[in-house]
Amino acid sequence: MKKIVIVVAILLISSLILGGCAGPPEEPGVPRVPTMERPSEVNLGVVTCMTGGAAIQGQQMALGAQIAVDYINANGGIKNYDGAKLKLFVGDNQSLPDPGATETERLITQEEVVVIMGTNMHSAPTMVQCQKYKTPFLGTCMGAQIDKNFDWVFRDFLSIEGADDLVFGFVEYCTEKFGEGPKSFGVLNNDGDWGLNTRSIMRNTVPGHGYEFVYDDIFPFGGVTDFSSYLIKIKAAKPDFFEISMCSPDHTYFTQQLFDMKIDFPYGLLSLGCACEMEDYYATVTPEMVEYMFVHEDCNIWIKHEPYYDYLNDLVEAELGVPLDAYMLSGYSGVWDVKDALERTPYHHTIGVFRSSLRDALIETDISEENCPDRITLPNGATFCPALVRGIERVKFVHGSEPGSKYWTNPYNHGQISQRINDERIPVYPRFLHPEGKPDIVWPIPSWSER
């Protein structure tokens, strides 16, 4: 008994002595940055389509991210880590689902990236890997539905649920303004995650809004060279309003053959973006083929009038020979979102702890024109907030709208609807985006024979 008392006493005294050697308790709210352990480099990952059918979009996304990284590195790096540089690793999902999973795993386990950004296509496998390895995934361009338990996933991109709110809001606005509107809807979606997710939501929501659902089909993504059989079926269904989700080259074939067959949608054709957000698509069709087409744009198409347009456009054209578009901006602004979070993230040499702290910082993100720590000054003296270049008002994450959702989404990233009028894409909805002096919504749409 005496021995036990002595041992316990020694343990107690030892713990008191060791406890006294510890530093002062941390002040709440002050980041704990170990002074001796600051990184010289922080690895970031982008998983996107560098090859395959969606390569043009993916390459722009990766380029946008690299432009942002280069700028940050040339202007002092991450100040929170005494100017540590960012290093970008790009994973190629080859525009296919499976390679995305292995590439994401490679970046996380071998390159030790602290965050994965992406993906312009097939984001589901990347999300699964990020959740598995507890690495933040910042989706700046993604169409897949997010598992509501994926608490490492952040979406700074318009949600499909939000997109449909925008579509129905637009249709109802036009119906009220012009006194007439569609009674029936038709949809044709691709069989990728974006298309299937859109289809599922439309099937659930169209009847709920009081419209008859007269056509609903899916096509093999990137695998159709002739839409005749689909168009024959669409013609027979006679939808008043038609929605499609297509990339190139599918969209071009559909547009050309729709024009050939002169099928009228009295209240319009709405494309959910992808191909028709890119200039190369418009080079493969004639202006009359796309006149009056509505497009759900991912970002602000009036960017040409923004002060930073020339600065960013010159960088993209020099590298890829194509004009600036939404995909480049999604990669670019994503890096600035991460940079903002890193400046608030305490470094830890254990990668898992570091990733967890970065996730916490992303949750606290709140960037707006009024609260933008990283502004870029242009040669003409104008400044802009690089995290907001896509025309969104704010970057702030909240849980998804589905009950019990644990993933994070930016509700301020809503996109916009444009209409092609006189060979120009003009933002028409939300209404505050419509530029003064430009033609307004054409509704109903003139039939092909009247044009």
Partner: protein, 295 residues
Amino acid sequence: MAEQVTAALVAGILLGCLYAVVAMGLSLIFGIIRVINFAHGSMFMLFLYLGFFLWHLFGIDPYLSIIIIVPVAFAFGYGVQYVLVRPMFLREKAYVLEPLGVLLLLAGLELVITNGVLLGFGGASRGIVGSSISGVIHWGFIIVSRPRLIVALVGIGLSFGLHWLMNRTELGNRIRAVGQNREASAICGINVHRIYAITFGLGCAVSAFGGCAMLPFYTLVPGVGMGLAIKAFIIVVLGGLGSVRGALLGGIIIGVVEAVGGQFVPGTMAVIISLVIFLIVILAKPKGLMGLIEV
């Protein structure tokens, strides 16, 4: 509904002819040399890009560009067989009908061509707008695109032309002889590797011919050939190895099933139905519909 199905039937025949145009070149190579040309899709894409740039840079109409591209494609195919594939055959010490190395070599060539084009020209979509023939023909409720009708006619013409070449000419006899028995042909004095090179070149030239006809409405991206090549493999096996008329028949069957089936089920399901029909035909007739060689 009858009108809808009839219109879909016509659309399916046109689509099937388009598939057949891509499949015919593959059928020749597959059936005679007994090599699965994994690079067929990327080679097809390469010829399309060549046609596009002839139009883009020099204003040459895609239909006219046939006289430039077809000889180039023949020379390209001849070169690939003679320079890359032939050494793989010669390396085999024992008699090997289909050297595995050739499959890997051609799969590698596919990657090189596709990614080379991606690197060289970028991933942007390209297409010819405003070729010499455009518009549609109305036959009552049936609407047919003129450029697509031309592709169908080219497909039918090529199948008859190649059938004549293979069955009515000395060269065709030699090609068929080599396809049936390589060693026996060599004993009879036929230069097997020259015939292989000619066949490979012919396969590429046929694809290029069809590709030029497709250019007025076709959209180019570096990966455009792969999807068509996969479909072409199915059609070649369905129609019968080495049979160009089989390729046409196989293409039309697949096209019609996809188009007509698509009127009753979702588009992706119609594609599955066409594959089920393919499996049934192969189980019942392993040589394919018109083939000489068992799969």
